[in-house]
Point group: C2
Chain length 238, copies 2
């Protein structure tokens, strides 16, 4: 599969590349079609990408940055349903309902490629390799968030950190990364309060399992983090 650890400032590092070329020299007929309809967009922090009940039209390939998708529940509370990072695609859920379900905002400066679904269908029909890649990406989405099924807070948080490190691909070592979302957002997503997040982060630091300096998290003992996520290890309180 594609290597998402590269910089994603241009199409050449997009998750759809090389199926969705824009280099003029490489254009085929199908790419020509594609070129006319897709559109690069740059979102500022907190800028809204889409709103719920908006008719589904586009899939979005994230080139850099991060998105958060949330619903406003009937009781008025915000509930975060997912985060989307560079190399991933947002919008699949809306195929089923025909409308976007979530309010989606950029967590930081974010570059996305807007791809109309009709065009997308035509594109993957003409390119079996791309079709396979798309199904792969969709399958990935089905697998994300498995740690949400965990029962204890420390299991969920450990799983979340491991997931982040795998999906964020910090430039250097994957053991160090900067979550683009607030503790509040983490807690909301994991159905935990920011207080609980904070407490467990503190315990993880006291046990030298992670180190948090500024906004950066370094995993000192990822294997222990995995054990915690698996329910094989509990954090020492003392």
């Amino acid at each position: 599969m594609l290597n998402p650890s590269q910089s994603r400032q241009s199409c050449i590092c997009c998750t759809f590349y090389p199926f969705c070329k824009t280099d003029a020299k490489n254009l085929h007929a199908a790419d020509q079609v594609n070129l006319t309809v897709k559109r690069l967009r740059r979102l500022k922090r907190n800028e809204i990408l889409c709103l719920p009940k908006k008719p589904f039209q586009n899939l979005y390939a994230i080139q850099s940055g991060a998105l958060k998708a949330y619903q406003v529940e009937a009781d008025g509370k915000e509930r975060i349903r997912g985060f989307y990072f560079a190399g991933e695609v947002f919008g699949y859920e809306a195929i089923y309902t025909g409308n976007y379900l979530f309010t989606t905002v950029a967590l930081s400066e974010t570059v996305i490629c807007e791809n109309p679904y009709d065009n997308f269908l035509a594109l993957i029909s003409s390119q079996p390799t791309l079709q396979k890649h798309i199904l792969y990406l969709l399958s990935q989405q089905l697998n994300i968030g498995s740690y949400l099924a965990a029962t204890t807070a420390e299991q969920q948080i450990a799983g979340f950190l491991l997931d982040l490190s795998a999906r964020l691909y910090a430039s250097g070592t994957p053991l160090e990364f900067s979550p683009p979302m607030s503790r509040q957002d983490m807690g909301n997503y994991l159905r935990l309060t920011p207080e609980t997040i904070s407490r467990i982060f503190s315990l993880l630091q006291k046990n030298k399992i992670i180190a948090a300096v500024n906004k950066t998290i370094r995993m000192l003992q990822p294997e222990k983090l995995q054990q915690i996520a698996d329910g094989l290890l509990s954090i020492q309180v003392a």
Copy 2:
């Protein structure tokens, strides 16, 4: 989309029909290919369909019955990751990892259509309508289990019941259905104990919101169930 309320004893009512015909009179070239590889299988109750780490090869279209997919966690406990009913497709998650992740067993007598993935890819490449339908089904899977994000037990259970009623399509009214899984399985899936499931079922009955006779559940006030799922209403304890 297809109407899953029909009986599903033959291909004519499969979720892939009419894309995946077996009627000799309607065979096209692509169908011929398909005919040679797909295979109907009948599973007995508790019969295992697939095991974790088995290389991914087939997608399974469920014609009748129900499947439960679970993992055995590192700590040895069983954790149910999903239920699959007639008209749905099982196996998408495995595309990403290349191996099946779950132990999958039949909850009752179940008829499935085994479809090799390579053949599946070829099939949908040749049939844009089917491709669209597949993406629709995949998107549906992404939307299932949204009630798992709820915070309270009664919200989750109410959401689960509404989900069941929509996906089980009981022959007569959708307000009455028979969950094919035990309380234990429900609780495991929702991260609740069977005791909690039982208690809340009792409360729902005392409040005349549902009626449970034998294994059958009848929703007396589905709108209240929806309100509970949405966090707008709490069950009266008295």
